[in-house]
Each structure stands twice: as structure tokens, then as C-alpha cells.
């Protein structure tokens, strides 16, 4: 992996306000489709954006009709110099590569519906474990969070490590799907501190689990069936620690498209101080 370090060491820093025009609405079969927005921004304090995102949308032709397929990843790197950026970027690419090879490509060949095929959960866990090994080797002092969602029709399969988050959002409600691997989240669970105190706790940035750590990595997985016309939001702590849940719901439900919603979420986080990198991927499940 030394060549990667060299590669990344030389790379020029780029402004990261990534803007993608909203895709045209597509409707295939009875399965419906996704509308996707994504944005990442360095924030107002940091010199470098160590957050990474990845999106892949597709439709899979099945024996009977189409099945919407999506792969969405957010990773938030940490560690000095350029290690954090390397960790999040490497993790995003290793996980995406693994899922495409182990889940997506076999589905094109119609090989998925048998006991011979890796179950989705196992593929997700193996993908993150592979990323863990790659980061540990390439950037031993660095680490990253990763929240990866595989959408299949209206079902979301999520693998998660760290304190980036996945939320289920509709017009009026927001519910967190993932559990943070942070010290403060455990303290909240035990009733030692309140969620408000957690936002200013001196050790709020301490994770007990991250991609890139030594030894075996425990990967959490979640299943979430998505109601029709709901949203799946993946974001880094640069968003959720600054913009309140209610504000997030308001921005999403008032925006004309997921892409505009993502840009407004980033703007809101920057207006709240922008102390950290901010990343949001928003998927609207139509059917």
C-alpha cells in the first residue's frame, strides 16, 4: 500500500464543494426508483476535507420486472497529516469495490438467489473488514468511520462503524438507525449524561471503534425497510452535531430535490460554525 501513500502524499488539495445536478426522475417497473443527492464540504475551520462519499444507483433486471439497487457510503477520516484522508478514501473504495464484486455483479448474472451466494450481511461485513485491513496497513496511525447502505427495492442494509450516522427521515419525523461507537453515546445509554451534554462533552470525539484499528473489527449491521416516499440520510458528525434533528427534517421536506436538500444541509452546518468537515448523502425512496 506504500504506493497509495505516495500517491496521496503528492495529491494537491482541492476545494471539495461537490455539486451534482439532480438526476431526472426515472420510473421503472413497479419497483419505483431512488432520487439521490450528495454533497461534501470542508467546513469553515479545517484545512482539509477528510470526509468521503460514494454513490452508485442502478436497476437490476429480475425474472419479473426491475429492482432498484443502490450503494451509498459516507466515511469520516481521522488522524494527523494526510492519514485521515487516506483512511476514508481507501475505505470508501475498498468497500465499494467489494460490494460491486460480491453482490452487484453476481446479481447481473442471476446468481444471487441461492445458498451458494454470500448473504448481503456477510458481504457487507467482509467489505468493511477488508477496508480495516487495508487502512491498518496503509495508514497505521489513521482511522475512519464508515456508514454504508445497500438499498434493494425498499429495503436498506447498512454496515456501520464509528460516529457517522444513517437516519430514516420522512416529512415530519427523523429516526436514527445506527448507533455511534463513541464514548459519549455509551454514557447517554447509561443515563450518565444527556444528549445535550454530549454535544459539548470534552471527550465527545472519542470513538471506541473505527476502521483502521488493530485486531478484529466488529461491524454493526442494520436492516431497515423504507416506507414509500421516505428518505435515507447518511452523514458525518460535521452535520449531525451542528444541525438539529428538527432542522434536518425541515430542510429535507422543504427542498425541491434531494440534491438541493444536501446543499442546504451543508449551508446550515456552516452557518452553525462549520467546525468540522460536512458530508451528506440523501436518498429519496419513491415507491
Amino acid at each position: 500500500m506504500n504506493f497509495l501513500r505516495g500517491l496521496f502524499g503528492r495529491r494537491k488539495e482541492q476545494p471539495v464543494a461537490e455539486v451534482t445536478p439532480p438526476p431526472e426522475e426515472v420510473s421503472v417497473g413497479k419497483g419505483g426508483a431512488f432520487l439521490v443527492g450528495r454533497a461534501s464540504h470542508v467546513g469553515k475551520v479545517r484545512g482539509r476535507n477528510e470526509d468521503m462519499l460514494f454513490t452508485l444507483e442502478s436497476t437490476i433486471l429480475q425474472d419479473e420486472g426491475y429492482l432498484p439497487f443502490g450503494l451509498f457510503i459516507v466515511a469520516d477520516g481521522m488522524g494527523g497529516h494526510k492519514g485521515g484522508q487516506l483512511a476514508s478514501s481507501l475505505t470508501t473504495r475498498v468497500v465499494a469495490d467489494w460490494i460491486v464484486r460480491e453482490v452487484y455483479l453476481p446479481s447481473l448474472m442471476g446468481e444471487t438467489q441461492s445458498a451458494g451466494q454470500r448473504p448481503i450481511n456477510e458481504a457487507l461485513i467482509e467489505a468493511v473488514v477488508a477496508a480495516n485491513a487495508a487502512v491498518h496497513e496503509a495508514a497505521p496511525e489513521a482511522g475512519t468511520t464508515v456508514t454504508c447502505a445497500l438499498l434493494l427495492g425498499a429495503n436498506a442494509y447498512i454496515a456501520h462503524v464509528g460516529d457517522s450516522r444513517a437516519y430514516l427521515v420522512n416529512r415530519t419525523n427523523i429516526r436514527r438507525i445506527t448507533r455511534d461507537h463513541s464514548l459519549v453515546d455509551r454514557l447517554i445509554e447509561l443515563g450518565q449524561i444527556s444528549p445535550e451534554e454530549a454535544l459539548t462533552h470534552p471527550q465527545r470525539n472519542v470513538l471506541y471503534r473505527a476502521v483502521g484499528q488493530a485486531g478484529t473489527l466488529e461491524v454493526d449491521t442494520y436492516l431497515q425497510s423504507m416506507p414509500s416516499n421516505s428518505y435515507l440520510l447518511l452523514c458525518s458528525d460535521g452535520l449531525w452535531s451542528v444541525v438539529s434533528d428538527q432542522e434536518i427534517v425541515k430542510i429535507i421536506s422543504n427542498a425541491p430535490s434531494p440534491q438541493v436538500a444536501c446543499q442546504r444541509l451543508i449551508k446550515a452546518a456552516n452557518e452553525g460554525g462549520g467546525e468540522d468537515n460536512i458530508t451528506a448523502v440523501l436518498v429519496n425512496i419513491r415507491s
Binding site: G79, G80, A115, G116, P119, I120, N155, N205, Q213, D237
Partner: protein, 631 residues
């Protein structure tokens, strides 16, 4: 001493701080010999005190770098350091190293201490491939309690705050010493940015700034947990000791010691030992008991009812042959099939006979009730719909082979499989066939209908998803062996067991496997039950176990071993799971933990599945009886 779990990220340049080289002279008195340990905030050296010129007097010198950016803060840190050093200098206990001197030079402060020949417990732990013996850990814990008792008895109490294996030194006589009195913390500047690694041993209340003597007991408990299990708490979720019982890693530890450690590790300080003295007494009592008796007996946390004079049936009813069918209880009436060819209707409250309907063969299928009809299949190849109020026939639907699949009703249609390899969709009003789907093998699995899709398994190894409108295949999933069991739908997942030993969770829309959980034998007929609040699915296997499987991950949460195959399907009622076993018992387990609540022995084998209604468990046995047991 860089610990594996505490790896501060983004601040590593401070770790590279130059250490004093051999021969460096401090205060024209202390000659540095070597580095003993490097910590996050300090370096410990071995040095020689030159004032004793005729003998070699060794000492340990701890060096702390004062890197506060503001000169005022730097000065404050030095003052705090001197205050703490003064307190330490007054302590006198065999397990506390003596303080000889302290001084500050440039931006560094130094503490001169007694040099201890030995190893810290982290090193001891890492050098032992086997578990450390309970006896040794008990001896150390008693000594640590003793020194904590000494510190806590100061007014105000001195709280150590940092008990962990690397802070406990052990000499060759098995005597322990507490080193590193958190004094270095006065030089700690706030870490910025996300880091990996928690302290692992500290009590939860310490993180909201509350330090009190019982926090040291928690850290001692955490240290003992680590020593006995070899599971480093810095690599585990914080405060998760109760989820990782000591004896599950190291069964050689006595239940008595485990209980003491778990009490020290309570989140709630008031549930811990009141003092180090009390904890010491508890350990000593255990230790003396262990010398007299071989082992502290396990405490029986609950009484198992049912074996002798325990659980008693509310009623039993004797059919004329084996009852392998599972009862359905609706509006106070129990319906069940028997190998005596009859479909029976009994009063669910009293067990009194209401009516019976004779089919032309044994009834292994389980009845279902739709409006005023009770519907059941028979070995005589016919599906019967009988009026609930009088047991007279309403309609029949003949098939080409035995019916062992149990019918299900959805949207006024009955769905059931037959050994003639078809899944039938018939009108619930008159039994007329709407469509039938042909599989490659017999269908003994009972269908589940959800969102216009019919899910069913077949002996041909496949799980099928069929469109309810026309019976066309939406998807099919191939397992490695026949599928006799029946699917359960839960939030977009289809759960189904196969004779290939696995419980599968399939994506209901696509038929892709989401996870699989391998049991120790074929899953024959047991249908998964789901408790969404616990996030668990329950299923029985021919390996004799009832499994509780995490719905998110497919991992086994617990399993309970009966003495024979479990083909019965679990039923859930108020936090308990009920099922039968071929060993003849009806079991009730705590759904969360898998602990036995009670078991009841019938005279035959139990492959029937329980129905639990209003606190009563109804189940059949091959001893010909139907039992009503209090849940």
C-alpha cells in the same frame, strides 16, 4: 508503554519527544540509566542517586513535559504538580512507592520515587498464554482493596482514579504496588479531533466529572475482569462488562468471584460495594470458603417448576391417537387434529369436548379459523372446511396426495400445499381452486402471505415467492436441502429454516439472502417466531436446541439445549418462549436470556407447536393428549 487501545490520533508528534540519554545528570544528583516506560504524558527512567556514592542506590524518575501554550497555565500546572507531589510524599503504605524528591527544570517536571523491581500486571497478563489463576488474582485484589481502603480513609478521601493492569506492579514475592498516581494529568492539555480508544477501566460517573471512592472499586473490578478473561476492555464497547460475563470466557472462575466482580462493576454506584473494605471482606470470605470447600456452589436464581409438584395442567384431554397437529384457539374454542383421523373442537377453558369431525385419514396439518369455518388438511388428501359451531362440513377440496401443510387464509382465499407438489389457492367461501402452482417436490411447508406475495418452501430445496394474483413465480431461492419448515415475514424479510441446517433471512422483494445462521442440525418443521422488541427470531433445530437469533445480524444470541430434536415451532407470550421437544417436555424459556422458566414432561414426544392465549399454553403430545398449561 503504548497501550493497544489508547492510540491518540493526530498527536503522535509528541510521542516522538526526545528522551534523556544514558548518563544525563539531573539536579547534579540523579544519573539516568535507562528508560523504563514511555506513556502518553510522561516518561519513566531508571536512575542512580549519586548522593550515595559507596552503594548503588536506584530510583525511578518520572518526567512530565509541560506543554501548556500559555505561560500562566504552565505555571499553574507546575503548582498543581507540586501540591500533588506533597500529598504523595505524606503517604505511607507498603503498596505505594515512596516519594523522595521532586523538582522542575525548564518546561519539565520530575518526581523521584522508589524503584520497584518487577513487572506490571499488563506485562504479566501478556506473557501468560493461559488464564491467570483465580487464586493469584484474588491475592492481588485483596492487596489492592487494602491500599484503596488506606487512600479512601483520608479526609477528604484520596481517589486513585486510574486502576488498571499497567498501573499495578508485581514483585517477585507476589506483592503489588500502585504506581502512576495520576499526577501526570495536571500536564494534560485537551486533545483535539476525533480519537480512537477509551480508557476502558474507568467508571461511567467519572466521565461526568464525578470522582468518588467507589469509582476505584469499579476500575478494580474492570482490572480483575481483564485479568481473568484476557479480554482487553479498551478494545470493547465502554461499560460492557455485564454483556461479557467472565465465566463465558473462562469457566474455571468460580461463580462467587464472578458475582463479586460484577457487583464492583455496577453502573449505579449505590449497587457496588460500599467501600474497599467491604469488597476486601467479600473476597476474603470467598477465598476462605474456597479453601474449605472445593467450589462455591452456584446460586439457583430461580426455581424450576414442573419437575416435582411444580407446574400442573389446567386440564388435559385425551384424543384417540397421537396429537402432532398444533392447536388453534379462537373465541374460547380449541381446534386440533389427531392421528385418530378427527378434527377436535374443545372448550379452551375447561377442556370439555364440543364436537369432532372425522376425516378419512390422520390429521397432521394444523387447523386455521376463518370466520365461521375451521379449515384443516388430512392424510386422506382432502382439505376440509368445517363449521365452527356444529362441526358439520361446509366444503372440501381434494388434492392428489397427503396434506401435511397447514392452510393459511388471506383475502378470502385459502393457501396450502400438498404432497402432490402443488400449492393451492382456493376460495375460502366454497373451496373452488383459483390457481395452483406446481413445484418440483412435495410442499409440506405452510405458506405465509404478505403484501400480495405468497411465500412457501418445498422438498425440492426451493423457497418460492408467488404472486397472489396468478401464482406466477416472483423469485425462488435455492437452499442446499429440502425445505419442510415454513416462512415467517418480518419487516421486509422472509425467515425460513432448511434441512441444510441454516435459518435464512431473505429479502422479501428480491429473494436475496440477507444473512444465514447455521444451527447444529437440520431445521425440520420449526417455524421461526419473532420478537421485534428484543430484535430476536426463535427457531428449533434437530440438533436439540432452541435458538435465539439476532434479527439484524443473524448471529446466535443464545441457544438452549433440550435432550432431543426440536421440531416444534416456538410461541411467544409476555417475554417467554414456549415450545415442545422430542424429549417429551414442553419448555418455557425467558426470551431475552434463554434461561429455563419451567418445563413440563408429557408421556409422549412433543412435535406439536403451542398456542398461547390469555396466559394458557395449549399443546399436543404423542401420548394422545392435549394439554392446557399455565404460561
Amino acid at each position: 508503554m503504548v497501550t493497544p487501545g489508547t492510540r491518540p490520533l493526530g498527536k503522535q508528534q509528541e510521542q516522538d519527544e526526545v528522551t534523556l540519554s544514558k548518563g544525563t545528570l539531573l539536579q547534579e544528583r540523579y544519573e539516568i540509566i535507562r528508560v523504563i516506560a514511555i506513556g502518553g504524558m510522561s516518561i519513566v527512567y531508571q536512575a542512580r542517586d549519586l548522593r550515595f556514592s559507596n552503594v548503588t542506590k536506584l530510583c525511578a524518575i518520572k518526567e512530565m513535559v509541560n506543554n501548556a501554550p500559555d505561560p500562566h497555565l504552565r505555571e499553574l500546572a507546575v503548582k498543581n504538580f507540586e501540591r500533588e507531589a506533597n500529598i504523595l510524599a505524606t503517604l505511607s503504605h507498603p503498596a505505594i512507592p515512596k516519594i523522595f524528591d521532586y523538582f522542575s527544570e525548564a518546561n519539565r517536571s520530575y518526581l523521584v520515587m522508589e524503584f520497584i523491581e518487577g513487572q506490571d500486571l499488563e506485562t504479566v497478563l501478556n506473557q501468560n498464554l493461559d488464564f491467570l489463576s483465580e487464586r493469584r488474582v484474588i491475592e492481588w485484589a485483596i492487596q489492592i482493596c487494602d491500599v484503596l481502603d488506606y487512600l479512601h480513609s483520608y479526609n477528604p478521601p484520596i481517589i486513585y482514579r486510574d486502576i488498571k493492569p499497567s498501573n499495578v506492579m508485581l514483585d517477585k514475592h507476589e506483592r503489588i504496588m500502585l504506581v502512576d498516581f495520576g499526577i501526570a494529568k495536571v500536564f494534560q492539555s485537551g486533545q483535539k479531533g476525533t480519537m480512537i480508544g477509551t480508557e476502558g477501566y474507568s467508571p461511567p460517573e467519572q466521565y461526568r466529572g464525578a470522582a468518588e471512592p467507589r469509582g476505584d472499586l469499579y476500575a478494580l473490578g474492570a482490572t480483575m475482569h481483564h485479568l481473568l478473561t484476557k479480554r482487553d476492555p479498551r478494545l470493547e464497547p465502554p461499560f460492557s462488562f455485564h454483556e461479557r460475563p467472565i465465566r463465558s470466557f473462562n469457566p474455571q472462575v468460580s461463580t462467587g468471584l464472578e458475582a463479586i466482580i460484577m457487583r464492583a462493576l455496577e453502573y449505579d454506584v449505590d449497587k457496588r460495594f460500599a467501600s474497599a473494605k467491604e469488597m476486601k471482606q467479600a473476597i476474603m470470605l470467598l477465598s476462605s470458603a474456597a479453601q474449605g470447600v472445593a467450589e462455591v456452589p452456584a446460586t439457583v436464581a430461580f426455581e424450576v417448576r414442573g419437575e416435582k409438584g411444580g407446574i400442573q395442567p389446567l386440564w388435559t384431554f385425551e384424543c384417540e391417537d397421537e396429537v402432532r397437529s398444533s392447536p388453534a384457539v379462537v373465541d374460547g374454542v380449541l381446534y386440533v387434529g389427531s392421528y385418530d383421523n378427527n378434527l377436535w373442537a374443545l372448550d379452551a377453558r375447561t377442556g370439555e369436548f364440543i364436537w369432532k369431525y372425522p376425516t378419512g385419514g390422520g390429521v397432521a396439518s394444523s387447523p386455521c379459523v376463518w370466520r365461521d369455518l375451521v379449515i384443516v388438511g388430512s392424510e386422506d388428501r382432502v382439505l376440509y372446511a368445517v363449521f365452527t359451531h356444529n362441526g358439520r362440513i361446509s366444503w372440501t377440496c381434494p388434492t392428489q396426495d397427503r396434506i401435511r401443510s397447514s392452510p393459511r387464509v388471506a383475502m378470502e382465499h385459502v393457501f396450502f400445499g400438498s404432497d402432490d407438489r402443488h400449492l393451492y389457492n382456493v376460495s375460502a367461501r366454497n373451496g373452488r381452486v383459483v390457481w395452483k402452482f406446481e413445484a418440483v417436490g412435495p410442499i409440506r411447508s405452510s405458506p405465509t402471505i404478505m403484501e400480495e406475495i405468497v411465500y412457501v418452501g418445498s422438498q425440492d430445496h426451493y423457497v418460492y415467492a408467488l404472486n397472489i394474483q396468478d401464482g406466477s413465480v416472483k423469485w425462488k431461492f435455492r437452499t442446499n436441502r429440502p425445505v419442510l419448515s415454513s416462512p415467517t415475514f418480518f419487516e421486509g424479510l422472509v425467515l425460513i429454516g432448511s434441512m441444510d441446517w441454516n435459518l435464512y433471512a431473505l429479502d422479501a422483494k428480491s429473494g436475496w439472502a440477507v444473512w444465514r445462521c447455521r444451527t447444529g442440525g437440520p431445521i425440520t418443521a420449526s417455524i421461526p417466531a419473532v420478537d421485534s422488541s428484543l430484535g430476536l427470531a426463535f427457531v428449533g433445530s434437530a440438533d436439540g436446541n432452541m435458538y435465539a437469533v439476532n434479527l439484524r445480524t443473524g448471529r446466535v444470541a443464545w441457544k438452549y439445549a433440550t435432550e432431543h430434536q426440536v421440531g416444534s415451532s416456538p410461541a411467544l407470550f409476555e417475554g417467554a418462549v414456549y415450545f415442545g421437544s422430542v424429549d417429551g417436555h414442553v419448555y418455557s424459556l425467558d426470551a431475552r436470556s434463554g434461561e429455563l422458566r419451567w418445563k413440563y414432561k408429557t408421556e409422549g414426544i412433543v412435535v406439536s407447536s403451542p398456542a398461547v392465549v390469555d396466559g394458557v399454553v395449549y399443546i399436543g403430545s404423542t401420548d394422545h393428549r392435549v394439554y392446557a398449561l399455565p404460561a
